[in-house]
């Protein structure tokens, strides 16, 4: 990557990120995310935060895949469909930049925004540290996992938003894809598959495609190279597909 492509990506990402804060989208998103995650953490489940009786954030992180499932596509759905709807894609792609610089720049901006949202949950770290002595390494690992998972959801949403200029369709498509990728590793589902007599190796293969399987390891504080590879492959593949879709639209 040379200097100018890095410069182009930064310029694009800066514009995109500013765009979030120029409209109420950013603020609404952050507030809703914090409210939902807070509500789930303290109120729902077998072991909500206070009843758990442990200085850990398990009850916090276990809801992330589900909250992201609806909120990340809401961020990602406009990335390309908005460009196509407004016609600005014609401006963007006739500028002296490559399509992949545009794709990466826009993706990184939205991902940075999701990082910011995650950072806004910092009071819960302070709370748990005040109440007890949690393993902050595990918490850090879980945050990394959560961030990577959000990135994967986002890359998939970027891809679906390149498919259509209708944001609603884009939103629903990415929700469904992400939901399937959660489900295929969700214990109740894998157990159900076992009762159907599906062979164990096939179930494991399917489960290894799931966000859940890989996020679990992070939640336990394990930073496994294979899990990192998984999330980065999902991101890489989705962004590559986005490029193919955008090109095929232009080829007519």
């Amino acid at each position: 990557m040379n200097q100018s492509s890095l410069g182009n990506i930064t310029t694009l990402a800066k514009r995109e990120l500013k765009g979030y804060f120029a409209s109420p989208v950013a603020y609404v998103f952050i507030v809703i995310f914090l409210l939902l995650v807070g509500f789930f953490t303290f109120m729902l489940g077998n072991a909500p935060f206070f009843k758990l009786g442990q200085a850990s954030l398990d009850s916090f992180f276990k809801w992330h895949p589900w909250v992201f499932l609806f909120l990340v596509p809401a961020i990602g759905m406009r990335v390309w469909s908005e460009e196509r709807r407004l016609g600005t894609i014609e401006l963007l792609l006739t500028m002296p930049i490559t399509a992949w610089q545009a794709i990466v720049g826009k993706f990184l901006a939205s991902w940075a925004f999701l990082l910011l949202t995650l950072i806004c949950t910092f009071p819960i770290i302070m709370t748990v540290n005040y109440l007890g002595k949690p393993d902050n390494g595990v918490i850090f690992g879980a945050y990394v996992g959560s961030f990577l998972m959000a990135g994967s959801y986002l890359a998939i949403s970027c891809m679906t938003s390149a498919i259509t200029r209708n944001q609603v369709i884009s939103f629903i498509l990415s929700c469904v894809i992400c939901f399937l990728l959660i489900l295929c590793g969700y214990p109740p589902v894998t157990e159900f598959l076992t009762t159907l007599g599906v062979s164990q190796s096939l179930i494991e293969t399917i489960a290894s495609l799931s966000f859940m399987t890989h996020f679990d390891a992070f939640q336990k504080g394990i930073l496994d190279f294979r899990d990192l590879v998984f999330f980065f492959s999902v991101i890489g593949f989705s962004l590559f597909t986005t490029g193919v879709i955008l090109r095929s639209h232009r080829a007519g």
Partner: protein
């Protein structure tokens, strides 16, 4: 500067642009004319590298748009149809972004933004969000974006669409001024614009070039070009008609209107010419006959007439969006 060779674009079974070839040099303003769906926008999108052609080549400043798009795109300023821009940004923010992506930084960027803001009269709305602007301002914001890097090549898709008559005039003057140093292609539906701005005009119909020449050359091809209108007072139409039979350059003549005091006659030339020969002969005749001539003039021919005569009135071939 711009060289287009056998450009072709198919959308499924439909051929949008078929074997388009032309060149535009620095100092030329080429007007793209054609009915809706003729392939003007598609051609422009291929020249700017937005969509890849099915076949054929585009060279901008010697760079192949397909093989080497980045240096080619650097030379181009482009105003797409409907002048899109990022609605959530301010005019200043948008122009700064466009300048930055064009590689301008620091002082250069500020100067460039200042220059185009002045050229396109955007001072009053500089810090307003683009979605609050009127269509005219939005259009000029996008136009400003296209000239922010002072490009050598300008591609403008309907640059005066949606502007009021004063703004249209300003934009035309701007294009004409810039056309002295740049290679410009612009499309329009307004034929008078072609006469006012272009050094060359090209009419496209169903993806093919059907006429190519200076506006004067094209006008001369119109049916009515060279027709002489004569208004004489105090003589009966039939008398005038009879005498006109002796005029060598006239093919035929017809009485358009006859009133008690005067008669309006239209005389068609034998060969399509607008050199004034027919008018001279009629003028000589009128002097000999001592007619009281109220008016005698040669039609220059009109572009819209020529346009209508060579583009087929077919609305089936609507552009696919």
């Amino acid at each position: 500067m711009i060289k287009v060779q056998k450009l072709r674009k198919e959308f499924g079974p439909k051929v949008a642009v078929n074997s388009l070839s032309f060149e535009v040099e620095r100092g030329e303003v080429l007007g793209f004319l054609g009915p809706n769906g003729a392939g003007k926008s598609t051609s422009m999108r291929m020249i700017t590298g937005f969509i890849p052609p099915t076949d054929g080549k585009v060279f901008v400043g010697g760079f192949d748009m397909i093989e080497n798009p980045i240096p080619a795109k650097r030379l181009i300023g482009y105003l797409p149809e409907n002048a899109p821009s990022y609605n959530d940004m301010t005019v200043h923010g948008f122009l700064s972004f466009c300048a930055e992506i064009r590689g301008l930084r620091g002082e250069d960027l500020k100067k460039a933004v200042h220059r185009v803001v002045e050229m396109c009269f955007l001072e009053n709305v500089l810090y307003q969000s683009i979605d609050t602007l009127s269509k005219g301002y939005r259009h000029r914001t996008c136009l400003a974006q296209s000239i922010i890097h002072d490009p050598e090549v300008l591609i403008l898709d309907e640059p005066t669409d949606g502007l009021d008559p004063n703004q249209k005039h300003e934009v035309r003057q701007l294009i004409k001024r810039m056309g002295e140093k740049k290679a410009i292609i612009f499309s329009t539906h307004i034929l008078e614009e072609v006469e006012a701005v272009c050094s060359r005009a090209m009419i496209i119909d169903r993806g093919e070039i059907v006429a190519n020449g200076t506006p004067d050359e094209l006008k001369a091809k119109a049916d009515r070009a060279g027709v002489v209108t004569l208004i004489v007072g105090g003589v009966a139409g039939s008398v005038v008609m009879e005498k006109l039979g002796q005029v060598a350059a006239a093919r035929k003549s017809a009485v358009v209107k006859e009133e008690s005091s005067r008669v309006v006659i239209r005389i068609y030339p034998k060969t399509q010419c607008i050199n004034g020969e027919l008018a001279h002969q009629i003028s000589d005749l009128a002097t000999r006959e001592k007619w009281r001539v109220e008016e005698l003039h040669t039609e220059e021919g009109r572009l819209d007439e020529f346009f209508r005569s060579i583009t087929l009135p077919d609305t089936k071939s609507e552009e696919t969006k």
